[in-house]
Amino acid sequence: MTCWRARAGGGGGSEPVVTTPFYPEDPKPGTILAVGTRSRGGRIELVSAPRPGEPTMRWQSQANSIDGIEKELVRIWAQPSAVAAVGGGGPDATGDADAPRGRHVAARTSVMNLVVIARHPELGERAGETINRLSGRHPSRTLVVLAADPDGPPWLEGRVQAYCILPRADAPETCSEQIFLTAGGETGRHLAALVTPLLVHDLPVTVWWPGEPPLESAAARDLLAVSDRLVVDGASWAGDGLARLRDLAETDARFDRLAIRDFALVRQSRWREAIATVFDLPEFLPYLGHLRRISVTYATRDETGAPGTTNVVKPLYHVAWLASRLGMRVTAPLAPVAAARQAKLRPGEKAPLHRGLSARLRSATGEVSVVMRPVASPMPAGTTLRIELLAERRGQELRADVTAEAENVHVHTWLDGVEAEDRTFRAPRRNDVDLLGEILEGNGHDRVGDEALRLAANLAGSASQPGRVHPD
């Protein structure tokens, strides 16, 4: 612990530290006059009473070692009214000299530890913001870890903040802590050593790793070994995302205790709902065992649409979810579809888009062909535009066509070419706050998600066949 080198803040000065308002993008943050009275920050007095449901920062201080951060965490709660003092007064003012118009008693709460590993400061700030918005439903001790200057000398800088929220105007205020750690040099490579001492004990640990998690690195393995849940966003990975998807499935197989959730997969729940509904009809259900073709169309910005350039994790998850639910296995993993022979392009004419990827699955009743085809679209690259299912049973053909339409998912079904059903499902776009919230809500392993991930990795060419079965 002695090797930390002080970076900022310094040691024993006693001049007040003035911090800036912490919600620069919030148009009406309820003017915050942030004055720390201790050597390294401290309580932040609010000029006006906080508004219900809006998190406000009520404490900020700094430290340059894990020990120091631990001491700061204790200090926040050492003074009972420290973060509770609220300007504006109330009918039951306490009259305490330190908190002359104190009104709400602050209570500290945590239901989990949330660790965010961020590659860039902006990513960390954004994640902190997302988590803040969730603190109402999922109060947690949050650690945002940033590795900086990997080749420099080892150092550590910690910023400790307490955020409080009034659930209602007449309720006591509740608070939780956020710790921003910036680790330089060698220190940044020992994530587990940084994180473990700062966790609230006995509470589950969720690691949110936005961007590109280096899942195969020693640092990641050490950290994941002490975690209960890993949250990633497969749709944000570089290239087609398939290599990292295989790593993710391997990580899932390696750690028994670790539950893996991918935003890309969670995001699709309303699509899955819509698809499932088609087969709620008893007359259509039998066709599920006789799927012959699954084709997914996704948006691309790339002019050629050639495989490898557009992230295909989302469209792949659709196929993988269907295949894993229906007990199919992969007989031929995804491979680029051979381009058709093509006439010479005339000058000014664009080459047609690549025909995408294809794969083959096997179900109990036969072969199922899979096609994932890019389409030039203004939608974000990698967005699923359409899923078509084709099933044949006893000479009859069922076709289901699922498309996204603004905020809705549209399902259209035909039996032998005759329209059978036409339904719309509300599928509002969900942001990171909604998705993380939904993920944190569930606990334990998500068997359906795990199986979909495993099958997706198999489709992406991972050799390992499904083997591990979760104890639950």
């Binding site: 659930p167 006591p172 499932a276 709620d280 639910r325 809705n408 719309t424």
Partner: protein, 562 residues
């Protein structure tokens, strides 16, 4: 089929050779063929049953949390009334805003007054400003919902209303794809319930169709005003709807803490073993209101605390505290257990009604620093009214678990503050070790607050730091506000969504309502035989008449200070 299954289970165990099990009796030869056949038949039945179930859709697995109700038409009777504006429509708006309602959804607002679609939308929108739980109102979400609201005018007694309504609903199915599913919500005066229901039946609007269109009806409280009228109303409802189509609202059951009571009792292993007469001394259930009757004088004159609260909310809370663990969380398993509790309460004899029940009525006084009028001086109240605004009662549940444990229930208007709480008082320690301590250690207490600050509190003794041994009572406090910082959904949101999803767990069943009336009826009848009570009997802003304190004091107990 049950027999077959048992047979299968019995033979399955010894059939597997378990080396550790010493000499399990082998099935006799005579038994073997019969049980094999049983096994096969059981398996066959299982197969037959399972193909019929919708759950067999393998794509459904893991999607359960996402469930959104089927496409449906929500027919709101009494749409221009207070309840619709205050509770029902704000709850529907909130459900819509949070994407819990289906895309194919229509609200048909039925009322007597002349309105256009636009007018009713504008009026409902205006009341959202006042009554929506989340402000400001999301205009975009409201606009989407508003275009799904249509007005249908008619007199509830007029058969023409129902035939035109039927045609309109069929049109909806065609135009808006609502697939024949209908929920009728009766937010009207209680006196209109029977009429509307029988008219719905006459017009054939109750028939569930073969292709899956469901019909459900939500009936608001009060459900009857005594046992007779409740039985009569149940009979009227039963002529038209089957019990599984009927959802009787008691909004207390939709409250977060009340639902949490079930989680608390049956989701935690440590409480159930002590949840009985061996460990619990008594139970107190308090519903205190600081408000008076709020300009509802005429209504309150006819109901009083016994009908307004005791028959429904208080007895519901009592049965949730006292019930046995249900086998499943299914609607009927749950309600079976609740009814059993009510059945175990022996109705009072007239003598008992006098000794075990205390009624009161508030006189003038001060509440929250303001002077308030006596009940008899409220508008639309008889100046010599004998209606009770306070009731306290001592019940016993005569079963194995609760024999000898009194349940004290009280409810009052114009009490010092608004608080709803269930307190479980545990028995004293069998042997007092710390007699020399400055304060006697009090027995443990578990309190569940339902409002205003929903939460759970456990009181236990702790040593005061320092030399010597002094015991003080300390509390371990859990407030919903501190563990979960968001607001809980309103009871109506929970209940309406449940009804749309077809889950009747939180609604009261016919036999439950009747059973509750059969407990309250003897009390009301006993009062009728008595001379006029000496009302007012408590000052507004106090904890009710002294007789209520005596009810506990005579057994050496007292009401918990709240």
């Amino acid at each position: 089929m049950v027999k077959a299954k048992t047979g299968a289970a019995e033979t399955a165990a010894p059939a597997a050779p378990a080396p550790s099990a010493p000499a399990a009796p082998a099935p006799s030869k005579k038994d073997a063929p019969r049980t094999m056949r049983d096994l096969r038949l059981a398996a066959e039945t299982r197969r037959r049953v399972s193909t019929a179930k919708q759950l067999d859709n393998p794509l459904r697995e893991g999607l359960r949390l996402e469930r959104v109700p089927d496409a449906n038409v929500f027919v709101l009777f009494g749409a221009t009334g207070d309840l619709a504006h205050r509770k029902v429509v704000p709850a529907l708006y909130q459900l819509w805003r949070t994407h819990l309602l289906p895309h194919e959804f229509v609200i048909v607002a039925v009322g007597r007054r002349a309105y256009t679609d636009e007018a009713i939308r504008a009026e409902l929108r205006a009341s959202l400003d006042q009554f929506s739980r989340v402000q400001p109102v999301d205009e975009e979400a409201w606009a989407e919902l508003a275009e799904r609201i249509v007005y249908h005018r008619g007199d509830f007694n007029d058969p023409a209303l129902y035939s035109s309504l039927g045609e309109r609903l069929d049109d909806m199915d065609a135009q808006r794809g609502t697939r024949g599913n209908r929920l009728y919500y009766l937010a009207t005066q209680a006196s209109a319930f029977a009429e509307i229901i029988s008219q719905l039946g006459r017009a054939g609007l109750d028939h569930e169709r073969h292709d899956g269109g469901w019909r459900r009806v939500i009936i608001e409280k009060p459900f009857g005003r005594d046992l007779d009228s409740a039985v009569r109303l149940n009979r009227e409802v039963g002529k038209v709807f089957r019990e599984r189509q009927v959802y009787r609202i008691d909004h207390y059951l939709g409250k977060e803490t009340v639902r949490n009571l079930l989680v608390f009792r049956f989701g935690n292993g440590i409480f159930e073993p002590i949840w009985n007469r061996r460990h619990i001394d008594h139970v107190q259930i308090t519903v205190a209101e600081s408000i008076g009757i709020e300009a509802r004088g005429a209504f309150y004159e006819e109901t009083g605390a016994s009908r307004d609260f005791l028959q429904n909310h208080l007895l519901q809370l009592l049965s949730l505290v006292g019930m046995e663990p249900p086998a499943t969380f299914g609607a009927d398993a749950l309600r079976d257990e609740k009814v059993k509790v009510l059945r175990a309460i022996t109705p009072f004899t007239p003598d008992q009604a006098r000794s075990e029940v205390v009624r009161g009525q508030y006189g003038p006084g001060w509440v929250s620093g303001k002077p308030v009028a006596a009940y008899r001086d409220e508008p639309n109240v008889d100046p010599v009214s004998e209606t009770e605004t306070f009731i306290a009662a001592r019940f016993t549940i005569d079963n194995w678990r609760w024999s000898g444990v009194p349940f004290y229930l009280r409810m009052g208007k114009r009490l010092p503050k608004r608080a709803t709480e269930i307190a479980i008082q545990f028995k004293e320690v069998p042997h007092q070790l710390f007699r020399d301590s400055a304060a006697d250690p009090e027995p443990n207490l578990l309190a569940m607050r339902i409002q205003p600050d929903e939460g759970i509190m456990l009181r236990f003794g702790a040593k005061v730091p320092g030399l010597g041994i002094d015991v003080r009572n300390v509390t371990m406090d859990f407030t919903y506000g501190s563990a979960f910082q968001t607001d809980s959904p309103d009871a109506y949101e929970t209940l309406i969504l449940d009804a749309l999803l077809g889950d009747a767990s939180l609604f009261t069943r016919a036999d439950e309502v009747e059973q509750a009336w059969s407990i309250v009826d003897p009390v009301i009848n006993a009062w009728a035989d008595e001379p006029a009570p000496a009302f007012p009997s408590y000052e507004a802003g106090t904890w009710g008449p002294e007789a209520a304190d005596d009810l506990l004091a005579r057994e050496g107990r007292r009401w918990r200070r709240i």
